[in-house]
Assembly symmetry: C2
Homo-oligomer: 231 residues x 2
């Protein structure tokens, strides 16, 4: 009496995604954008065994979040992409709040935001956006997707790919703790303006001068970890 045949109200499609599913959606987005993410890449990013990922891909397809074909990876559907952007919006707004109002340091912020992003409602998110003055970038300089799902793609690139003479602004730095610590100690933090003095092809060392006239020579590894945007 209650169910009148195979209409389109599959229970798997309706329920809002669990924290795990959200993590997968975000990982697929980060690893492959609008393309297809491989089992391996997602498994690595989430530190989860590959078979668990295969398994989840199947379930996420049933939920309508991805298009999945065996041995071919999973790509986000329109709905999946929407979920990913909503999650990234939450994450970046939360990070902004933690850094600007609660005195978090760069090191501590990520882990906390990673947990909170699964717990806040859309209502919370929009009020927090209001509280923060509707920022369109987080303190890393990464764009914050709008509430309607639109967002400006990230136009930053690794410092190693800059050209000599260019003036750039640091937008974010790789989140490996020791890298972060070194860069922090030397004042190379997001928002900082740099002039690129030399990019040496031979060994990949990039020499930059900061706003205070200080000079820094960064090896290949560091030049790959510092992301900048043209000024």
């Amino acid at each position: 009496m209650a169910s009148m045949g195979a209409m389109t109200d599959d229970p798997a499609l309706t329920r809002s995604p669990s924290a795990s599913v959200e993590d997968y959606v975000k990982a697929i987005w980060e690893v492959a954008g609008s393309g297809a993410a491989s089992t391996k890449d997602v498994a690595e990013r989430l530190s989860i065994a590959p078979p668990s990922v295969t398994n989840m891909f199947v379930r996420m397809q049933e939920m309508g979040l991805v298009e999945y074909e065996r041995y071919r990876g999973a790509s986000l559907t329109r709905r999946g992409r929407g979920e990913a952007l909503r999650l990234i919006r939450r994450h970046r707004l939360i990070e902004t709040f933690l850094l600007e109002h609660l005195g978090y340091t760069w090191r501590e912020v990520h882990e906390e935001a990673e947990r909170l992003e699964h717990a806040v409602s859309d209502g919370f998110t929009e009020r927090l956006a209001e509280f923060l003055g509707h920022p369109d970038q987080d303190p890393h300089g990464d764009p914050i997707p709008a509430a309607d799902g639109s967002f400006a793609p990230d136009d930053s690139f690794p410092l190693g790919e800059a050209a000599a003479g260019q003036r750039v602004r640091i937008s974010k730095v790789g989140d490996d703790p020791s890298t972060l610590e070194y860069l922090g100690d030397h004042g190379l933090v997001p928002g900082r303006l740099l002039s690129v003095r030399e990019v040496r092809d031979l060994d990949g060392v990039v020499t930059v001068e900061d706003e205070d006239g200080g000079s820094h020579a960064l090896g290949e590894a560091l030049a790959r970890a510092v992301f900048v945007r043209g000024e």
Copy 2:
């Protein structure tokens, strides 16, 4: 080689409690304080079937959070009590933030805090406390346990138990939505100062006068839902 016998590092004791376990701890505290909570009471408070509760009691005993005896209920251990108070501290600080800084209404606050309290770290909690100026009461007037676990017990009581002539302040109101709505519409919100005009034994109707001289007659059900503290 790795495990050298039955020493005291049981894995069940170490891992930090899941959101479910936290809910149980809090429920036991709310239902029974330092006494023993019955299966039924906890089941009702959490809207969970009784057998699930029995099951959880056993596991929580293994975790060292409760003392449990079959057919006799569960009471919190020192550690369990500590967890409960930490959770309540988080909850009340979060509510304070939502109400005072994000523009939440009384109606919306509870649900959001209920989810967030499981997601925030101790570090977040203490920074939030700092941000809020280390309040020792939430906007309901309920005491906020200190970070070290000490706290002033709640000395509020239902309006129905007040005496005629007494001056009292509303500390909290029952969280049934329709009750909340009615009381809100009539300005009977936490913080409000009242003079008790009459407490009629016959039918339990309590008549009060508010700060603006308005008079309200509250029946038994409402008088039980409004908690006050002597002024």
